[in-house]
């Protein structure tokens, strides 16, 4: 409801320019990835002569992006799908819907953990991983991700489960379900929207991470995709189209997830920002 149509347009034009500025970097990179080296050197702005997949194929095969891609998929799948959602929903259900001594203390512990950024604990964590032989292994990186994102996951799921009416739980108990039955048959299905939202968000966090992965997976064959992209930069500084192709390969899964699950991502980001 701007005062007049005019003020509306006065604002709309800079906003449209900003929208272009938001999209252009990705479009530019895509265009560069389609160019040959010669084309890029001659003119980096013009549209690529043809849609050439040569650079993408090169980045995927000979540069080794396929291996990094697979590493990332494995780690993200194990961290998020298997562990974070399972452990997080069990804890969220117990904290939100079961009454037991010490529950508020435990909750405070999780609250405290949420305030500890990875940068603050990375040195001792690296040492623990080295001492237990988990450094440079898939389980080590998965465990590091689970530790990093579990507090957030528990908070989101606890607050979601707190909105589930207690009557539903009581009715299920009267029907003869055990506590575990209530968790498995009632809480998991009811929690599906929250699990999807927190799952997508965690998957993005893990997929996009570089610091934890750099620290926990030092060897080249264990590189995750984002670490792989950073290593491309030095190797292909004179072959920008191949570099751009590597960047694109790492970005496309995120782009696809964003197109289909934008709402769930936004829900996770905004949870707790208005009224708790």
């Amino acid at each position: 409801m701007p005062r007049t149509r005019l003020t509306g347009w006065v604002v709309a034009i800079p906003m449209a320019v900003l929208a272009l500025a938001t999209i252009y970097p990705v479009v530019f990179t895509t265009n560069v990835a389609m160019k040959t080296r010669r084309e890029y050197v001659l003119d980096r702005f013009s549209l690529a002569d043809s849609l050439s997949w040569d650079n993408i194929v090169k980045a995927w095969t000979s540069v080794g992006m396929s291996r990094y891609f697979l590493n990332s998929v494995i780690v993200v799948a194990c961290s998020v799908a298997l562990l974070l959602l399972l452990i997080g929903s069990m804890a969220g259900f117990a904290l939100a819907r079961l009454r037991f001594r010490g529950s508020s203390t435990l909750f405070l512990g999780v609250l405290a953990a949420l305030f500890i950024p990875f940068q603050v604990i990375m040195v001792p964590l690296a040492r623990i991983m080295a001492d237990t032989g988990l450094v440079d292994t898939y389980p080590g990186l998965v465990l590091a991700y689970v530790a990093q994102f579990l507090p957030f996951t528990i908070f989101l799921l606890t607050s979601y489960y707190s909105t589930v009416p207690a009557d539903i739980v009581d009715a299920a108990r009267i029907d003869g379900n055990t506590v575990y039955g209530v968790y498995w048959r009632i809480m998991l299905p009811i929690g599906a929207p929250a699990l999807l939202s927190v799952g997508v968000l965690n998957a993005l966090f893990c997929w996009n991470d570089v610091l934890i992965s750099l620290l926990m997976m030092p060897s080249a064959e264990h590189r995750t995709l984002m670490v792989g992209v950073t290593s491309l930069r030095g190797q292909y500084s004179d072959d920008i189209p191949t570099f751009a192709s590597g960047v694109l390969i790492a970005a496309v899964p995120v782009l696809v997830v964003y197109l289909f699950l934008q709402r769930q991502i936004a829900d996770g980001v905004t949870a707790g920002s208005t009224k708790g």
């Binding site: 117990a94 435990l106 604990i121 957030f152």
Partner: protein, 315 residues
């Protein structure tokens, strides 16, 4: 992320009283039933205590020991004195100061944009989805793309050239590079704050806006007297999350765009920790830098709690 925790606390309080009914039934239940909370919580407790709380204690402890020859020996505050004497760490702290100064801008931009989207400027349906997009990209991807865009002979300088502005060495000039990195961070994350603001607007009482309109308030008046007071909680949330984001999620950008350079001008505490741990093999010094970063975060966190408490009392 941190403020979400607080809301979860609020939400969890009624939950535990509501659970009283089921606990009465629990007492009649089998032993396995009574142990259920323990079983359900055990993995979470193990992971959080062992891999987050315990390392924090270890790290603080570690920061008072030596590196190299003095490995494991108690050295008191030596590491902290080394930090204060290190020009790179001082640059990192100065850059944190710069981030704090830029914080209001980083909050105001998405706030204003969200206001315009809420007021339905032409095209408002499109903007949310477009602006939010870079926020889901990895800092590595964003940094790599801007390496190309901000190159001396890159598109950005070409655009400026078209406007008659001479080219700038965005990532090579020590006086400019930190602003370039922070600028890219803001570009990449303003959509996150925008979405949070829009969620706040969704809770806004529209009759207040109608009243302002009837009274003939101008747009700036409406923003200042109606929107800002109504969204105080959201604004505080964005302030804190934006600050935490600046302190803990710029590693990827610095790593890819400048590697801390030129001349160490783009160092941030988190990058300093990484260099000391990963490259210089000085874990005790790195721990001291970590602890310093934690103290900065703690101040931010405590400020948040007190602000939210005050806001809660006003409700």
């Amino acid at each position: 992320m941190a403020a979400q925790s607080l809301s979860a606390v609020d939400a969890a309080v009624p939950a535990s009283t509501a659970g009283a009914a089921s606990s009465r039934r629990n007492r009649r239940g089998s032993r396995a039933e009574r142990l259920a909370p323990l079983v359900l919580l055990a993995p979470a407790v193990l992971v959080i205590a062992g891999l987050r709380l315990w390392p924090l204690v270890l790290g603080i402890n570690f920061s008072f020991t030596g590196d190299g020859d003095r490995n494991g020996l108690a050295v008191g505050f030596d590491n902290y004195l080394t930090l204060l004497g290190d020009p790179l760490f001082r640059t990192a702290l100065r850059n944190v100061g710069l981030l704090v100064l830029l914080l209001p801008v980083a909050v105001a931009i998405p706030g204003l944009l969200a206001t315009f989207i809420f007021l339905k400027v032409p095209g408002h349906r499109l903007y949310r989805g477009v602006y939010f997009f870079p926020a889901v990209l990895s800092p590595v991807i964003v940094g790599a793309i801007f390496n190309l865009l901000l190159a001396f002979d890159g598109p950005f300088n070409a655009l400026l050239g078209g406007l008659g502005i001479p080219p700038v060495d965005w990532l090579g000039d020590p006086d400019v590079a930190i602003f370039a990195v922070v600028g890219v961070h803001v570009w990449a994350t303003f959509g996150m704050a925008l979405v949070v603001f829009l969620a706040g607007f969704a809770t806004l009482d529209s009759s207040l806006l109608d009243a302002a309109k009837v009274d003939g308030a101008s747009l700036p008046q409406t923003i200042w007297h109606v929107i800002v007071p109504s969204l105080s909680r959201t604004i505080q949330f964005v302030f804190v999350t934006t600050m935490i984001g600046m302190l803990t999620s710029m590693f990827g950008l610095v790593y890819v765009m400048t590697s801390g350079g030129p001349e160490g001008s783009t160092y941030l505490p988190e990058y300093y920790v990484w260099i000391q741990q990963g490259q210089m093999n000085q874990p005790a010094l790195a721990s001291a830098a970590s602890t310093a970063l934690f103290l900065i975060m703690l101040v931010v966190g405590l400020a948040q709690i007190s602000i939210l408490r005050r806001a809660g009392k006003e409700d």
